[in-house]
Each structure stands twice: as C-alpha cells, then as structure tokens.
C-alpha cells in the first residue's frame, strides 16, 4: 500500500518549522492570499463542499456550522479556537501548535475572513505552556509582517488574534463551557439552543472550531475540495445520514504499545493497522484486551473488534459513542478492566462541572461503586446498578445540558457489556486493588 504523504504533519521535523520565514519558504500564507480574493461565502461553500467535519469530537460539518451565522449581522462576530485539548489519550493538537503554529494561524485567518470575524480568541489549556510560548511568538511575527492587524496583506481585512489561557478544566473543551470561561465565569455549559452561531461569546454570533479542523481549512483553500475528498471514506450509500469521512486525520496511539506516537493517515484506518503498523504492536509480546478508539469518552473496543475502521461511522457500529478525538489507547491482557474503568470514572467525576444533577451525582456514584468493587466489597448487583446510573445520564437520554455525561457513561456501558465476565470474576474473587497511589490521592 502506498505510504501516505503527510499534509498536516508535513513540516514538523524541519528545523525552522515554527518560524514565519520557514513557513513562507514552504508556500505559507499563499492560501490566505487566495482566500482574501474570494467572497467570504465562497470560502464557506468551498469548505462545506470539501466535506470537512470537525475534528474536536462531534464531527459536525465545519462549513455547515459557519453557514448558520445570521446574514447581514452588524457584528462583532467571533471565532473561538478550541485549543483546550484535554480528552485523555489525546495530544495531536499539542503537536500541531508546538511544531507548526503558522499552519493554525493561517487557518484561523481564512476562517475569520469566511465568517466575517475580526477577532479570534485561542482558548489554550493552561498546561500547554510550550504551545503558549510558540504561538505567542508566531502571533507577534504575524503582526510585524502585516499578516494580522488592521490591514492584512494590504487588502483592508482586519483581524486580531488573542491567546487566552485556561486554568485546568476539561469542561472548557465543551464549546459553551469554553465561552463561559472566556467571559470570566465558571465553565458551566449553556442550554442549546441558542447555538453559539446565533448567540455565543459576549452574546454575539460565534463559531467555535477545533485546532486540527482549522489546520485543514488552510489546505482545502490551497489545494481544493476535490483533493480533500480524494482521501478518506465516501458515504455509505445505504446510510442516508453518513456525510462521508474525508481528509487526512491525526491519530494518537498510546498505552500498551511499543511505539506511542501521533501519525497522520487518511480517515478510515483500522484499529489493527494503527496498532500493528504504526504503533509498533502491543508491548511485551502481549495481546490487546481492549482498545479505546477515540479518547476515553468513546468507550472501549474488545479484542475481536480491532478491524473497526476509525472514521466517523466505524466506532458507532460496534457500540462506541463515535470517533471522538481519534486517540487510540491500547490496554493489554494483563491489565484489569476494573482498574481501567475506575480511572475513566474518576476522571469524569473530577471534571464534571456540577451543574446537572444526573452528571454530578452520577459520575460520583459510578466512581464510588467501582471503589467499592476495588476494595473487595463489590456485589453482583453493583454491575446492574452502575449500568442503571450510566443509562440515566446524558444528552442522549435527555437529562443533562452537555455531553460530558454521555462521555462518562459510555466507558461504563461498553465495559460492563463487553467485559462483564471479568467484572463478575473480580467481584466473586473478593480481590482488592487499592494501591498506595490511590490512598495518597484519596482526598482531592
């Protein structure tokens, strides 16, 4: 099979990958010049027709989202760049920002032209200090070179880009949680509708886009929609709701593999190929027991589901929540699924913003039930109880404002359904798994 020619990661190993001079030497900002000669709506239609779906987790058509903005709005219209990447297992946005900041900045500028925005905020998680320094330097280079500010490339287009650091909250990756946090408040997601395109940041029309999605925009303008669609998986003719899975995708692989890494491939690679060909195979000569397909919110694949395609439709076919962030985490056959599920539930309980009772209480109870099981005091009824709690929380059952609880519930649902025998055996054996680390972290 021919080796895929990287698009998004093409420049990251170059010694001058972060500098403006280096970026321009490689043809950088030609796409922006091209876009600025097009009418804004023509750029939106180009992106829509290219089939670009958001890479942040929801997979919503980027061009369609842009077209939801009200026509003839006096403004201001805002772009929020979601650089809050916090889904466990995920690190592709970090690599893009640290190693090729101008690719993102060019995508931001093109998007702002398309949506008629003159102010973009990059909401960057606080923990990405290196990204902050790199982006700050790159933004300053842009202002100095007339690529940002009042009269970009002499076209009269005006755009300011601001870096805004977070403070360690996963829920700021939720688009309205991000907006609330940017406004200076606690990151409590908002009830939708109204969607941000209608009423978002500072109550103005706002588009929130993921870092990788915006990087794709640069290349779509440069090389066209047909080129973008030449990669990936076209829609299944038998599924009217399938919009296709087009373009290049960054896949993160971590956990029990020999070569944890980030690799760029056309959408649609199988889990098996990702692990064996790109991740160096399962470590220590072991086999995979379970695999997280797209960040822990998406749930788990079992060992006989490794031929699942990692496109927008694949994981759903085997009971996972979706493609998510395409962050694959491999769990070997010597690891207890009870310990893994506990780790996932503890994360979600810690990160729940607390606004909605089913999530605040539900994530707490799922974690406590697993603590009880891991302390050797589990009962078989606990498995039905934890499933009942999981099924009661989320946007899907209609009981919460945002999707964090769906992401909290899904690993529980998949784990109990696909690995029930292991949980029952654990309970039956009265085994305990409280390690010193747990006791040291108990008070948080």
């Amino acid at each position: 099979m021919p080796t895929f020619e990287p698009v998004l990661l093409k420049r990251i190993d170059k010694p001058n990958s972060t500098s403006l001079a280096g970026y321009r030497a490689d043809g950088g900002y030609e796409a922006l010049q091209k876009a600025l000669k097009m009418a804004p709506d023509d750029v939106t239609n180009l992106v829509k027709d290219a089939g670009l779906r958001g890479r942040g987790g929801a997979g919503f058509s980027a061009g369609a989202k842009w077209s939801f903005l009200p026509k003839n709005h006096p403004g201001p219209i805002y772009l929020c760049v979601n650089a809050d990447e916090s889904e466990p297992g995920t690190f592709n946005n970090r690599i893009l920002m640290e190693q090729d900041p101008h690719q993102l900045l060019e995508g931001i500028a093109i998007a702002c032209h398309a949506i008629r925005s003159q102010a973009a905020y990059i909401y960057l998680r606080y923990e990405y200090g290196c990204c902050y320094r790199v982006l700050d330097a790159a933004i300053k280079e842009c202002y100095a070179a007339g690529l940002l500010g009042d009269n970009i490339l002499g076209t009269g287009f005006k755009l300011n880009v601001y870096l805004h650091r977070g403070a360690g909250a996963y829920i700021c990756g939720e688009e309205t949680g991000l907006i609330e946090s940017l406004e200076g408040k606690r990151a409590w997601p908002r009830i939708k509708p109204p969607y941000p395109a209608i009423e978002g940041l500072f109550h103005k029309p706002t588009i929130v886009n993921n870092v990788e999605t915006l990087c794709c925009v640069t290349h779509i303008v440069q090389r066209g929609g047909e080129w973008f669609k030449s990669m990936g998986v076209p829609p299944d003719p038998n599924n009217k709701r399938d919009q296709g899975s087009y373009g290049p995708k960054l896949y993160c692989i971590s956990g029990h593999v020999n070569k944890p890494c980030c690799v760029e491939l056309p959408l649609g690679v199988t889990v098996r190929e990702l692990i064996d060909v790109h991740g160096g195979g399962v470590w220590k000569g072991r086999k995979a027991k379970a695999v997280v397909p797209g960040g822990i919110s998406m749930g788990f694949l079992s060992a006989n589901e490794l031929d699942t395609r990692l496109d927008f439709e694949g994981p759903g076919k085997v009971g996972c929540l979706g493609l998510g962030t395409a962050a694959v985490v491999v769990i070997d056959d010597q690891t207890s699924m009870v310990d893994v599920l506990y780790n996932c539930c503890r994360f979600m309980s810690h990160e729940s913003c607390g606004q909605c009772t089913p999530c605040r209480e539900g994530t707490g109870w799922m974690t406590k039930i697993l603590e009880r099981i891991r302390a050797g005091r589990g009962k078989f009824e606990d498995l039905d109880l934890i499933l009942e709690v999981a099924n009661s929380m989320g946007i899907i059952p209609g009981t919460t404002i945002c999707g964090l609880s769906d992401g909290a519930a899904w690993p529980v649902k998949n784990a109990i359904m696909k690995f029930r025998g292991e949980f029952e055996q654990y309970i039956r054996s009265g085994r305990k798994s409280i390690t010193p680390a747990q006791e040291l972290m108990a008070a948080h």
Partner: protein, 157 residues
C-alpha cells in the same frame, strides 16, 4: 497598603483592550496574581474585583471553580509538580510514580513540602501521552519518567 503593586495592576490593565468587557479579564488577572504570590488571598481578590469592576464574590465564584488556584491558607510552593494520573500514564506506571514521589518528598498528593519548595499534585491528562508517564514542573512538561529521573528533575530546578 494594597496587596497588588502598580506593576501587577498595569499588567492586568494591559489585558483590557483585548476584550469588550473587563469581566473577561478575570482568568488572566487571577493567573497574574497567582504567579507572583503563589496564591490569591481574599484581599488580592477584592483588589482584582475593584480593577475589573466586579463584586468580590464574582471573582471568588470563578476562582473556586478552577482547581488551579490556591487560596492564602494553602499557597503553592516554589515549584508546582503535577504528575498525570489519567489513562495513558496509568497504563505505564503513572500512579506508581506519583506514589513514589509522595514517599520520597514526604507529602501526600496536594501538599507542599515543609521547606515550601515543592507542591506535589496529580494532574489529569497532560496531553503528552506518547511519553507516558509524564509530569509538569511549573510550565515545562517532562516525559518517559522513572521515580529517580523525576526526582532529579525536581531537585535540579
């Protein structure tokens, strides 16, 4: 005698032009103050509120949501060491690393050493999973750690 110096106030004011209202400067202001004092005291909170034309309770409301900020009773040490405990690090020894560091530094997770040099905490996924297990020491991320290499990094700063 105000807690916030003129220099800190000017740094906060420099953020104002970036946003259409002052409330949006809440997080940047908290970071500026926390960076200097390793905590945000009640008095500092009141002065931030005054600068931002907010009520002190509004600043407290925001600050208390983000586990990042410490109050004056539990200030941060000179170094904040944040060891990841999420899935990819857990699968590669992250929890044992944290337990080991707790023992070697003689603190529980979340506490500060007696000499106030190091605050040891757990972090949720730091986004460096290709180098698990990893930790943040203030603003720098370090990966592929062992207990010894982690301790050396902390002691050398």
């Amino acid at each position: 005698m105000p807690v916030l110096s003129e220099e800190i106030r000017n740094r906060i004011r420099a953020e104002f032009p970036k946003y259409p209202n002052k409330r949006a400067v809440t997080l940047p202001a908290l970071h500026i103050v926390h960076e200097t004092f390793r905590a945000v005291s009640a008095e500092a909170m009141k002065e931030i509120a005054e600068l931002l034309e907010l009520h002190p309770s509004e600043v407290l409301d925001t600050m208390s949501f983000y586990g990042f900020f410490r109050d004056a009773e539990h200030p941060m040490g000179a170094q904040r060491v944040w060891v990841c405990r999420s899935i990819s690090c857990m699968l590669r020894g992250g929890e044992e690393l944290l337990a080991g560091l707790c023992q070697r530094l003689n603190v529980k997770a979340g506490e500060t050493t007696d000499d106030r040099r190091v605050t040891l905490e757990f972090a949720e996924c730091l986004g460096a999973c290709e180098a698990a297990p990893c930790m943040l020491v203030n603003d720098e991320c370090h990966g592929n750690l062992t207990e010894d290499s982690a301790l050396k990094l902390i002691e050398n700063k």
